[in-house]
Amino acid sequence: MIHSIAQKEFVSTLRDRRFVVLSGLVLALLLAATLVGRASYRSLQQERELAQGTVNEQFRNQPARHPHRVAHYGSFAFRPKSGLSLLDAGVDTYTGSVVYLEAHQQNSVNFSQAQQSGSLIRFGEMTVAFVLQLLVPLLIIFLCFGAFTQERETGMLKLLLSQGVSLRQVAWGKIRGLSQAVALVVAPALGLAAALLFTGEEFAAGPDLLLRLLLFGLSYALYFFLFVVGSVVVSARQASSRAALVTLLGLWILGCIILPKATANLGASLYPTTTKAQMDAQVHEQAQHGINGHDPHDQRAAALKAALLKQYGVDSEEKLPVSVAGLQMAAGEAYSAKVYQQHFAALNATYQRQNRLSDWAGLLNPYQAIRPLSMGLAGSDFAHYVHFQQAAEAYRYMLVQRLNHLQAGMGYGDKERRLDARTWRELPVFAYHAPTLGWAWPHLLLPLAALLLWGVGLSWLGLRLISTTSVT
């Protein structure tokens, strides 16, 4: 019974000219967004790989230099795009792509794409995720708003029920048929994306990517299912098609336009952060005067020197086999990096508090559940960005400390000497490994749970509402 209703719904939807036109449009946008996404992925990725290669070569081909010169020469870390970011660019547009790594200070990640465009960027970007998250639900709404109201207005509902079908069966039949029609629109684009991802040599296809893509597809399937069920429920509860359409469009505007912005803005108002300038000043101050304010840098340096003299049983710096300056630099770097990490963690904790408001809103608004889930799976969310920042800082710290210890090994009077050009070739270059799904998992639990909760709740409560709805 459900099957024949589903079949009828599917067939009549396909014969509806409006559906054909609208879904053709959405499909075209999806395919275009996929191709554009790949093109922009390619050019950005090539640019960054090329730049990373260039700076790595430059680093390895340095002439004979003093290691501290090399530490100031430093290097750059470029953030590679994740493969799935061609589907969902997430926050990538608003985050920088490159960070300059040098001794003594942690620089910001610069040159975001958003800074390279005018306020046009604020209207949103045409990505696959954008079409899937905002436009497909609209298509579903247009498809489903009349599911019950039209049958009621034409008296068909009474006829159906007189055949011995229950309202619940009618609802499930419609949901199934309409879901099939939606799948017909979305599946080709996701298929194309998968094909591009797994055939293009620029993507590191592997089980992790496959798993991410699979979950990506499943979450969207659930997301669309929510809209189908929700629209059918609203259609059943509203008196007229017009009222159903207006209600659904109102909910769409509230959930997809107003709430995300409002919660993000509210979060930023509730949990203020400091500027980079303030943070740097605080880090500098605490590194100079000690985290507790009673352990100044100069005293630490003097104590280190005294300890070295004692350790080697000598009475002057000249007789030491190691460079005091190098070891002092290493200790200073270790101390300031520790201070920086504390501040960086506090800053990110504040950002997470700001974002949590939006994450919890996912329980009220499926759009705010699919958005973090989708960008988390695509590797383009805030957590992945922080992961890159931390990887870059870890590399910077490692590099600078290696150089400091090279300097320490040069012994007294190191400033007058240089290390051989070969030395730089032995140092590792920056290679970023994007985290696996296992790492990203904890960040995705809340949005995923929210989506599942919606799915179960809507199927249960919504269908109960439908079965008590009026027939006339």
């Binding site: 922009s40 975001s112 046009l120 604020r122 209207f123 045409m126 303030q278």
Partner: protein, 460 residues
């Protein structure tokens, strides 16, 4: 005129009776007030942040005074001393935040090479910048069209579906007057809300009462008129309410969402920006090569540009500050062309969008409001140029100390040049925006009137 008045007041009755619409207007009013509140607090927060910067500079100077208790080498001071070039918001920025949260509002400057300092980003929460600002401009540009759609999607079709239209048209009333009265009522309602919010916003933000007040109000009015024109066109097609709602929302989606995002793609492809990354890499190479080049070569290149600092002494020591700062500056000069090309590329992108935004009045309106508030890309580029000039001024201040080898005393800190930059409105962009909106308004209204003339209103 008489019937117009009757119909107009009837619309008021209908509106009052439709509780949902009254609620919607109330909600939008509340949303607008929140937008104003958010915008003003955001700008206030930015102001507070910027206000802490002089304090940071003071602390930096205090530390230096402690570190160098007597007369010091200006080279040391230039190396350790940092100041800020600050981009102060105009009070209008509170109403249209534009890109003020995407672009940094200050640049920390030392006497070193400028190009690797100029593009430093500030701490931002990318999730928040992705979601965008909930300011008054957003409410006006994004949400007001939706209010207009909600108020008018059943203009005439509602009467037709309720079956009142035959009785209405059996009276000696011109159908155009019926449509006109309905539109006029909605215009008055929407403009009352929009202008009320604008005036409240202006008072709240404390904007100076100059020509921009009128520009803002006219922009808002034209933008609302445009959307009412779209309503007129759709009403002129005389389709059922559901079709109207879908068509109007489709137009909204097209003009507010699709055209901007497609335009963004198109412009990025048509005007590829020379990468800022490349120029910072090259600048680093230039500067660090300075260490390895013979000092005499560096100095002669520098003196060729700045003959006033030429002296006869050759640098024999392993390190000299004037040599160090000379190659820092030469590093900047080596990438000056790329830096200019980068800034120019961004400006060209913006200009191309300005040319093409005739396609969507929503973009015209948004970029005009941003231009009026001085919060868009061109203002940021101006700020960067002003930061560059400040860096020049800093060099001009320190060079006499460095090249004439004058000791830097504690009193000299106070003589250091300071920087202020307050966003200025881009009035030509505003004027062009006004013209473009006027053109769009004329276009849709002519089309709508034409449709009403060609297709007489049928009662069923």
């Amino acid at each position: 005129m008489h019937t117009f008045r009757i119909l107009f007041s009837a619309e008021w009755h209908h509106f009052r009776a439709a509780k949902g619409l009254v609620l919607l207007c109330g909600l939008l009013l509340a949303t607008g007030l929140y937008g104003i509140y958010y915008g003003t607090t955001e700008i206030e927060r930015q102001r507070q942040h910027l206000a802490t910067l002089p304090e940071l500079t003071r602390r930096n100077i205090a530390e230096l005074k402690e570190k160098f208790p007597g007369p010091a080498d200006a080279g040391d001071i230039g190396y350790y001393h940092s100041t800020f070039a600050v981009h102060h918001p105009d009070s209008w920025a509170a109403l249209s935040l534009g890109l003020r949260d995407v672009n940094p509002t200050y640049v920390k400057l030392r006497l070193l090479g400028l190009q690797n300092q100029l593009y430093a980003a500030d701490n931002t929460n990318p999730m928040k910048t992705l979601s965008g600002n909930f300011d008054l401009a957003f409410v006006l540009v994004y949400l007001f069209p939706l209010l207009i759609i909600a108020l008018s999607f059943n203009l005439l079709s509602g009467e037709r579906e309720e079956g009142v239209l035959p009785l209405l048209l059996a009276q000696p009333v011109r159908p155009a007057v019926v449509v006109g009265a309905k539109l006029a009522f909605r215009l008055v309602l929407v403009l009352t809300l929009a202008l009320l919010l604008s005036v409240v916003g202006m008072l709240w933000a404390g904007v100076p009462p100059d020509g921009r007040v009128a520009s803002w109000l006219v922009l808002t009015t034209l933008y609302c008129l445009f959307w009412l024109g779209v309503v007129l066109v759709v009403a002129g097609l005389q389709r059922p309410s559901a079709v109207n709602a879908v068509s109007l929302l489709g137009v909204w989606l097209l003009l507010v969402v699709l055209v901007p995002s497609l335009l963004n793609l198109g412009v990025a492809a048509a005007r590829p920006v020379p990468q800022g990354i490349a120029l910072t890499i090259q600048q680093r190479e230039e500067i660090h090569a300075g260490w390895d080049r013979p000092k005499a070569q560096t100095m002669s290149r520098f003196f060729a540009l700045y003959p006033q600092w030429r002296d006869t002494t050759t640098i024999r020591e392993r390190f000299a500050w004037r040599w160090y700062y000379a190659f820092q500056h030469l590093g900047d000069l080596a990438v000056a062309r790329q830096a200019a090309a980068y800034a120019q590329g961004l400006q060209q992108r913006y200009d191309l969008v300005e040319k093409l935004n005739l396609l969507s009045p929503a973009i015209s309106a948004q970029s005009s409001l941003n231009a009026l508030a001085g919060t868009d890309l061109p203002t940021h580029l101006q700020f960067q140029r002003s930061a560059e000039r400040h860096h020049d001024a800093l060099r001009a201040f320190y060079y006499p100390f460095l090249f004439r080898r004058v000791a830097f005393t504690h009193a000299d800190y106070a003589q250091e040049p300071t920087h202020t930059f307050i966003s200025a409105p881009e009035l030509t962009t505003v004027q062009h925006g006004l013209l473009k909106l006027l053109l769009s308004v004329a276009l849709v209204h002519l089309l709508g009137l034409g449709l009403l003339c060609v297709r007489p209103v049928t009662p069923r």
